[in-house]
Amino acid sequence: MNIKDYFRPKTLLAGALLCGLISCKSDNSNTTKGEVSFPRNKTLYMAGFQWGEPNTFNPLCDWPAFPVGGNYNLMYEPLMNFNSLNGQMEPLIAKSYQQNDAVISVILDSRAKWSDGTPLSAADVVFTYEIGKKYPAAPTAYVWTYISAVTADTVTDSTSESGKAERVSFTINKERNNPLAVLDHFQAVRIIPKHYIQKQLDNLNGDLTAFQKEKLDKDPVVSGPYTLHSYSGEKIVLKRRDDYWGKVLYQDRLPKPQFIIHPIYKANDHFSIALQQGNLDISSTFIPRIWQKEKQGVRTWYSKEPYFVPAAMTMLFVNVTKAPLNDRNFRRAMAHAINYADVKELAFSQYSPNLEPGLILPFGTEKQYYSEEDVKKYGAKHDLELAKKILKDAGYKSVFNANGELEHMLDPKGQKVPTLSIKSPAGWTDWEAMVQIAVKGMREAGIDIREGFVDASIYFNSLPTADWDLILHAPSVNATPSQPWSRFESVLSSRNWKPVGEKMNENQGRFNNPNDKNYNPKVDSLLKVIPNLSDEQKKLEAYRALNVIFMQEQPTIPIVYRPEQFYEFSIKNWDNFPNENNSYTPPQIPCFGVGIKALWEINSTAK
């Protein structure tokens, strides 16, 4: 026996097996035999919403898997959807809505049905909302801050088959008195089936926690156009319901994809690779330098800058209880020191229009409230020399060393200012780059500040407790009927003001302490009044006043505009996705809000 005899047969056999398997490989998409589980021309691949293994599909759980929860309409549906292109609420389960001072009511579409044939009625809507009242731990509990009662009755409706329709009325909570927020949650609350869930709850003696352990992943009772087919750690597969009641809203047509598959990737660049290879049709992730992928068939809403439609702002929240951050001049100097052009270009791959000061977007539906004159007069733009001057005039002195690097800074009393830190999650590349650019600019102006990258869990934990000097945060990201009011509310409101160390979910920088002698009551009164104004002129004045206060006080420093969602798609297998030249829906992934309409309009180009 020779050593050679030992391995030759073994490795030869292994090699042959491997070659055999490879040569019989199936193509990336279709097999030759035609026995494909999910034909490419009938399947839409979308990704970016599910991270990690799917855990549950129970709509009463806090963090269910895609497409349950969140703003997805594929399985469970909301009353109405908000179209950010025209500012209108569009019908779904509710046909229309009416609003007066005390009550907002909706008329339900009597054609709505569940997948087991049971009609979708007002009882389901009331049940869905009442669950939030009965169980404070339920995901819909928050709506009860804005409403005080939900009732149902019947009204005459000439357009419905039976001549009657059901109406659900929401009594606006007098204390909060915010009808805009009520409208917001018309598109945020998904209606769940009373007949099924009530029964399950009763079997468990009304124990919500026990019910939350149910996964609801086998033939769930849904009202939407798709239902759950299967799932694994690699993907979630949805199947079209051919008996979807909402066909009637689309001239009796069904959505084009028979299957929607959400692959679950484990690294960020896989979205980009899959899009370029035509294995992914739509993604909602941040992909840098998207114009380099254009020749691979990857497209965005705009074909050039800013590629995405901006709807919100990423900002630096400032902890105004700490010196020297309690000095408004210091804050304004910081705002002048940041090179916003660099942020846009390097950190955000040009995905934003040029940043203008203030909290109102200078475009879209908010443009009517934007005042160029105010911005010119009060706004802080990138101006390094002005930043230095402001600091000097306010009494700060910065000491640089021989290399031109900042050593330290002295406050007006001559004391050394402790090094400040910007908190941000480590690993979010675009956010990290933004912080680095901000730090660089501020240091050049003489402000002693450093990046403070921490683990994401620490970041989320510290955000509400103000355990930071500055923190990067993007509040109020969704395009909803209540913008720009919600953005102002999330930055300026003192309604739930609590000292540092306790939790606040808006105005985390503790601006405008109501117990302080310098408290400005105008801010909160404007915030309270705006949602109830119907006179456009009065609204404009109110917003202008708020925005001027914001620019003068600079409690937060906006850094860049960002879209509601990153919307990028591949034209390799499907075409007619909405974009700027074909804007039949706003730029939303077709599982979300009004964007779902695209599922009916896209065409397969795959063979």
Binding site: K25, A137, Y142, T145, E234, P263, K266, A267, K503
Partner: protein
């Protein structure tokens, strides 16, 4: 009495030692995830509590704390509170005994981050892929590397001069970087192999030819990213061992005796292989580390990524479950190898301790 059966004595003494190590490992497994300062419920609450008023948020937090067994409960099921009204957390000892009790029942707990999925469910779903990727790769790499190393040691000359530095170079490459390089060259530039996934995305796992051949195709790059480097390491190790053996007296004696060459080589191989076997058992432990990065680079299904997210999210039950699994596997593997050595190594049979 045991001394009369040296092999038995050897095996039982090893068994005792492994059991003690197992107990210590379980304790460490329990403590390690709790090293961090953040309470996992805090993390979950930070995400779910935005928009809730204080009272509602508090009730939600209690529901979680109760569900995860982190707080002391009164007889009626309500939470014990201290003077300032905050829930009293269960002492570590109590949590530990709870944990051991549940493990013995086979229940590894419920994951915090993937609530309400059970840990056993998560592991059972993902582990076949990790095993399928790692085990053949490790075994084949081991076999191939050792044979190559033995050959190099035996033949020397030009063969050795080429094989040895190449194997060493292969072993020096950080294997995750190598994986990314493979993706860049073979998947992106030349489009020969897929860059993402364990199987074609339009298939569901099944025991069909279609699925298996797709899985094999997707297997190639991840396989080679680990295999080449592993083989390199084994080859250099084996080569040193074999050269050492070749210089020993008994080999020289056998040569002078005129023993047939292939018989000498056989003995050399067998003796040099023993420490390599121990190394093989230990590399089961590195399996998860290797799996983690390979999964990240290829979006390959498996347990590694779940482990990383679990660790970053302070998901105690999942972390404990996975590390327990790793520890048990390594112990079993080592124990099996020890038994195997007990039968193969003549020194054990002769009653001479082989520490």
């Amino acid at each position: 009495m045991l001394k009369r059966y040296p092999t038995l004595y050897y095996i039982s003494s090893r068994a005792v030692w492994y059991f003690i190590t197992f107990l210590a490992a379980v304790t460490i497994n329990f403590l390690l995830p709790r090293l961090g300062p953040a309470n996992p419920v805090d993390i979950i609450m930070a995400r779910s509590a935005s928009g809730l008023d204080t009272k509602t948020a508090m009730e939600k937090e209690e529901a979680y704390l109760k569900g995860f067994g982190l707080v002391e409960l009164n007889k009626d099921g309500s939470i014990v509170r201290d003077a300032s009204g905050k829930p009293v957390q269960s002492p570590l000892i109590k949590q530990f005994f709870n944990y051991v009790k549940m493990c013995l029942k086979g229940d590894l707990g419920t994951s915090f981050l993937n609530y309400p999925k059970k840990v056993t469910e998560i592991i059972a779903g993902a582990i076949p892929w990790t095993l399928a990727l790692q085990i053949p790769t490790i075994i084949l790499g081991w076999i191939f590397g050792n044979i190559l190393g033995a050959l190099a040691a035996y033949k020397r000359g030009v063969f050795d001069g080429v094989i040895f530095p190449s194997a060493l170079l292969a072993n020096s490459v950080p294997f995750f970087a190598f994986g990314m390089l493979l993706v860049y060259i073979f998947a992106l530039q030349f489009n020969l192999f897929p860059a993402i996934g364990g199987y074609a995305q339009d298939l569901m796992p099944a025991f069909s030819w279609e699925f298996l051949s797709s899985a094999a195709y997707y297997y190639v790059l991840p396989f080679f990213s680990i295999f080449l480097i592993l083989a390199g390491g084994q080859a250099t190790g084996m080569r040193s061992m074999c050269i050492y053996e070749l210089g020993t007296d008994y080999i020289k004696y056998a040569k002078w005796l005129g023993m047939k060459e292939h018989k000498i080589v056989f003995y050399m191989f067998r003796n040099a292989m023993l420490p390599q076997l121990t190394g093989l058992a230990l590399s089961i432990g590195t399996m998860v580390g290797g799996a983690l990065i390979t999964e990240m680079i290829f979006s390959y299904p498996g347990l590694g990524m779940s482990m990383l997210t679990a660790i970053q999210g302070n998901d105690y039950p999942l972390i404990q479950g996975i590390t327990l699994l790793i520890t048990v596997s390594v112990l079993i593997a080592n124990f099996s190898v020890d038994i195997l050595i007990g039968f193969l190594d003549p020194r054990v049979k002769a009653g001479i301790g082989s520490k």
